[in-house]
């Protein structure tokens, strides 16, 4: 007997892909936001901070609804994307990636920002006196030293992205093979008579992936910490 049925395999792979794309696209922006929030003060910082963290406190359904309204083919941004580039986000896997990128973004920013703030600002001052400009300092001092937080933030956000339900189902619906990620497949299974076994197996897969991600995050962060001489 196969370990996973084709339907289960499809849902797992789709979830991995959706979360992977979301983290790959969100990470650079999260690093940028964490750097700005952790190192600089500017007018409107509180508002910016609030906007970044909003998806953490908003009901995911609301996040999904806002995406539906703005990014749908009739939405302000979505309509423009569709008419100009023919890009359609609604009811697609790419749209699912966008939804989970938005909901997991604050998790990444928080983890990375903590590690930015833990970096002694004196090191950057020292780098300045040694002739390093802002971009130079970012890549040679800040980025290597924030690597542990960056890694663990990315992995935890990845796990959370795989589990996102409300924003995904609201924005891109529940289409098997297209937008039906693991949690959506579990939900669908529980709605069908005799689907309990399927739901349990899918839940076990989710459980395993989440646990593995957390352990991997700890392990990698420790390795990187040793690599950059912090332990």
């Amino acid at each position: 007997m196969e370990i996973l049925t084709p339907m289960e395999t499809t849902a797992l792979l789709l979830s991995l892909r959706v979360a992977g794309v979301a983290i790959a696209l969100g990470l650079p922006l999260a690093v940028l936001a964490a750097w700005v929030l952790g190192r600089y003060s500017f007018p409107g910082k509180t508002l910016f901070d609030g906007l970044v963290h909003l998806p953490l406190v908003l009901p995911p359904v609301v996040t999904g609804y806002i995406l539906l309204v703005t990014m749908g083919t009739k939405g302000v941004v979505g309509g423009w994307l569709y008419q100009t580039f023919g890009i359609k986000l609604i009811f697609t896997a790419e749209g699912a990636s966008l939804a989970v990128a938005v909901t997991s973004f604050p998790l990444m920013v928080r983890a990375i920002r903590l590690s930015v703030e833990a970096i002694d600002g004196g090191l950057e001052a020292a780098a300045r006196t040694l002739g390093a400009g802002p971009v130079d300092r970012f890549f040679t001092i800040l980025l290597p030293l924030m690597a542990p937080g960056l890694l663990s933030g990315a992995i935890v956000a990845f796990a959370a992205a795989m589990g996102e339900f409300g924003a995904v189902i609201t924005f891109v619906s529940n289409i098997p093979g297209k937008t039906q990620t693991l949690p959506l497949a579990i939900y669908a299974a529980t709605q069908e008579p005799g689907g309990d076994a399927v739901a349990a197996r899918l839940a076990a897969i989710s459980f395993t992936v989440a646990l593995l991600a957390l352990m991997l995050s700890e392990f990698l962060a420790n390795r990187v910490r040793r690599l950059i001489g912090q332990v």
């Binding site: 040694l130 002739g131 001489g229």
Partner: protein, 373 residues
């Protein structure tokens, strides 16, 4: 020539500093903690921005509020050795040393990697990480890193403050070698008089954000009005002398300066080398004529320059000895009974000296210790 004049509001007080310093040697900014010394070198480095004034080194203007010049830190090429080293933890010692060097165009590199590593004794540390190195080692790496960035000026913020006495004794000779061999002007912040006396050529005395006195170390240390700022316990003059001869059979050395000779316990420096002595005011006795039948060997002909109260019962007497100065701390009763007044010829008897090796090379193990002579 370092030419600095800055005003900067610092919350508790206003920093209002102006001084000039020779481009060779060590300029020490001396004062108590919180007097504003570090703010001065932060402004020189460009890490903080004065409200007004100017900062120039030679022909280069780093800051001039009137002309709206404010060169960014990373373009100033001013080396900075921080009190806490600030080595990059994720890099090896070698990468730390090369950080500044790699950011200078090859054509402008005068100070090479190898000689600096040798000068600071870092060869065996190159592949290690800063973590786990001793405070003295970390500070030596910080010196090297700053030097290799090819600075036109080197700033040091209490480079020995976080080190214990043994580590400090280990670091001092290296700073002397930087001073004597690298030909880069150094501005050092310190609140330890022994460091200043040993290392500095020029001394700038700072209190509450103002310059109280500046000039050659011997001149500043010889001023009575500044002894309250330098610290009453350490009040005393600084003499620069040369080793004239050694008398091995008696274990003595004879040191000469323009005011005469001093005989001290033998020091391991060849004749002709420079020696700096810190002569505490409490170790100088004033007599009206040469004494016979005393064990003191060091008597110098001196002229009273000025007198100042130093406490409820004591007075400081400033004495000219040739072109140098001594300070004697005696009782006010003695001043009255001896009839001391400016212009009076006296004999200064020196009871003890503290050695402050002045030049590079071998360092006397007696350094800093006060010995009776």
């Amino acid at each position: 020539m370092l030419d600095l004049q800055i005003r900067q509001s610092l919350g508790a007080f206003t920093l209002d500093i102006a001084f000039t310093a020779e481009e060779r040697g060590v300029t020490a900014l001396f004062g108590r903690s919180g007097s504003g010394k570090t703010s001065v070198i932060n402004a020189i480095a460009g890490l903080t921005r004065p409200d007004e004034g100017h900062i120039r080194v030679g022909d280069t203007v780093f800051f001039d509020s009137a002309r709206h010049v404010d060169v960014p830190v990373e373009k100033r090429r001013i080396g900075y050795v921080f009190q806490d080293s600030r080595l990059f933890p994720h890099m090896t010692v070698r990468s730390n040393l090369e950080y500044g060097l790699r950011r200078v165009p090859a054509a402008e590199r005068r100070i090479a990697f190898g000689p600096v590593v040798d000068l600071l004794g870092l060869g065996h540390l190159l592949d290690r990480r800063p973590r786990g190195l001793s405070g003295g080692e970390r500070q030596r790496i910080a010196f090297g890193r700053a030097l290799l960035a090819q600075p036109r000026l080197l700033l040091m913020d209490e480079p020995m403050a976080s080190l214990d006495a043994a580590r400090k004794a280990e670091i001092m000779p290296y700073i002397e070698r930087l001073r004597d061999e690298m030909n880069i002007p150094i501005v050092m912040v310190s609140h330890a008089l022994d460091e200043v006396v040993r290392l500095a050529t020029t001394m700038v005395l700072i209190a509450e954000g103002r310059v109280r006195g500046s000039g050659p170390v011997g001149t500043v240390m010889g001023r009575l009005d500044l002894s309250a700022v330098t610290g009453a316990q350490d009040a005393g003059a600084v003499l620069d002398l040369t080793v004239e001869t050694h008398i091995p059979e008696d274990g003595l050395s004879v040191l000469a300066f323009d005011g005469g000779r001093l005989t001290v316990p033998q020091i391991d420096r060849p004749p002709g080398s420079a020696v700096r002595l810190h002569i505490h005011a409490r170790d100088v006795i004033v007599a009206l004529q040469p004494l016979a039948g005393v064990s003191l060997r060091n008597a110098l002909t001196a002229t009273v320059i000025e007198l100042a109260e130093a406490g409820p019962s004591s007075a400081d007497v400033r004495l000219a000895v040739g072109g140098s100065f001594l300070i004697a701390r005696i009782t006010r009763a003695a001043v009255r009974e001896l009839g001391l007044m400016p212009g009076r010829e006296v004999v200064a008897l020196v009871k003890g000296v503290a050695f402050e090796p002045h030049s590079g090379g071998a360092v006397s193990d007696r350094h800093g210790r006060v010995v009776d002579v």
